[in-house]
Symmetry: C2
């Protein structure tokens, strides 16, 4: 029998239950970005508080996470409250707080989550996966930054990779890439939520210029249930992201994630701050 | 001097301040849907609580509204809390409550709002308005239902109007329509938010079958500031909506709203319950 080290994703999502509705966690170096944790891991952690809650009904349907402030290195507390439970849907509020430098308890992140008991109905997949080369035919990305979290994903760009020349020559905001956890890991809802935030800021690609940028709010709609996630396993997902509008300091991003079989697992949207 | 009656939209959004962070309001017949108010007016009302708050900073950037339960006819209370105020963004939680039949105070709706002080930056409009006939060339919709709120919008479909034959013959979920308030009214943020929810359920169009359906969660990203809204005035907006995926009881909808000059004012997404 071999011993297994905990996967960095599970390590980051480790929460300790406290008072009713409360959990405590802490940031981990594995998903560190430049001035705080990678946004996707924060989103996944807030979702995890709901999934760990004893009153949970159903599976994640929608998740909105608002990044109110940078999360600092160290401990944080989560409060996940089921504010309304219906027959087949449940509505949650989640708040993340940290003690700031002055010793005050402050809100760093807020979220709303809807969970639902889903059942088989008429269904239609109206967003076919784009025709792209298979993962093995796409080269793994060469990391241009030292942010630790980038090592937690294997990314194989199809189109719209990070520019290599920052010369204001950009003209599109479209990225398509294959991705999966590194090391590989069975897909679950928090991992899928985290992957929705994996795309570098669209404004960098659109302008071929690096400017300060950060997600303000992200929403994820889960189209897959747990059976489809299990079936997807640790395979690659194709992620696609583009912006619709850049105006006066904020742009939006729409994203889709399919599994290798071409099934749409999640759609996601975010609004992102940028400078200049 | 003539006297002016209050516009039904302003009537619906009338709030009375109470304790700090609290407002009281009531449903109005003008925006009544089948079993509660039109979802767009509920979204607009929750946003209005933020806009009326004495601590408000900046203008709306993003809004997510979760419809936890049908709002009943009568009074409701709103609590709008600025949970985090930064230099140029502010994060809000909004909760709507009503007294239910058993006399208990229950949550009907939750929302998160981000407001922001915007400034001029490099900008790019990457989603051109589709080439469509001007409003005067499009026939006003003939109302097939008696929901009162439908009379509050002048809608002139370009494509994807409500099916006239419910014969399971649908094959697309795309609607494009010109719309404005009826009677006409100067555009503002709550009105724009409300208009993002104006599209009938995509599943009706996609299937050409009417099944029970209702929005679970909607997100609006505001790309326009108040100056652009003022410039748009009471003109028509072109609304476009389509679904990406219908699966196991829920579908998503992505929408865009442009003014007649072709400027993208808002993008919006929602996840919608459907039966069968």
């Amino acid at each position: 029998m071999t011993s297994h080290r905990i996967h960095p994703f599970d390590d980051a999502l480790a929460l300790t239950p406290g008072a009713p509705d409360h959990f405590s966690g802490r940031t981990t170096p594995g998903y560190w970005n430049m001035v705080g944790p990678y946004g996707g891991i924060t989103a996944a952690t807030l979702l995890q508080a709901v999934l760990r809650h004893p009153l949970l009904l159903g599976e994640p349907l929608s998740l909105t996470v608002n990044f109110a402030a940078a999360v600092g290195e160290g401990p944080f507390t989560l409060q996940a409250t089921p504010v309304r439970t219906n027959r087949s849907t449940q509505h949650w509020l989640v708040m993340a707080e940290q003690v700031d430098a002055s010793g005050a308890q402050v809100v760093t992140t807020t979220a709303t989550v809807v969970t639902a008991a889903r059942r088989e109905t008429w269904s239609a997949a109206d967003t076919p996966m784009p025709a792209v080369p298979v993962p093995a035919q796409c080269q793994p990305v060469r990391l241009a930054f030292r942010s630790e979290w980038l090592h937690r994903y294997e990314m194989r760009p199809v189109t719209g990779a990070l520019p290599t020349q920052w010369d204001d020559s950009g003209h599109t905001s479209l990225t398509q890439l294959w991705l999966r956890d590194a090391p590989a890991r069975q897909l679950d809802f928090p991992a899928l939520a985290s992957m929705c935030d994996v795309f570098f800021p669209r404004v960098w690609l659109r302008r071929a210029r690096r400017v300060p940028a950060g997600t303000v709010s992200i929403t994820v709609y889960f189209h897959a249930g747990s059976a489809l996630l299990a079936q997807t396993g640790s395979g690659y997902l194709l992620g696609q992201a583009r912006a619709q509008e850049f105006r006066n300091g904020f742009f939006d991003q729409s994203a889709q994630l399919w599994n290798e079989a071409g099934q749409l697992l999640a759609t996601s949207h975010q609004i992102v701050y940028y400078k200049e």
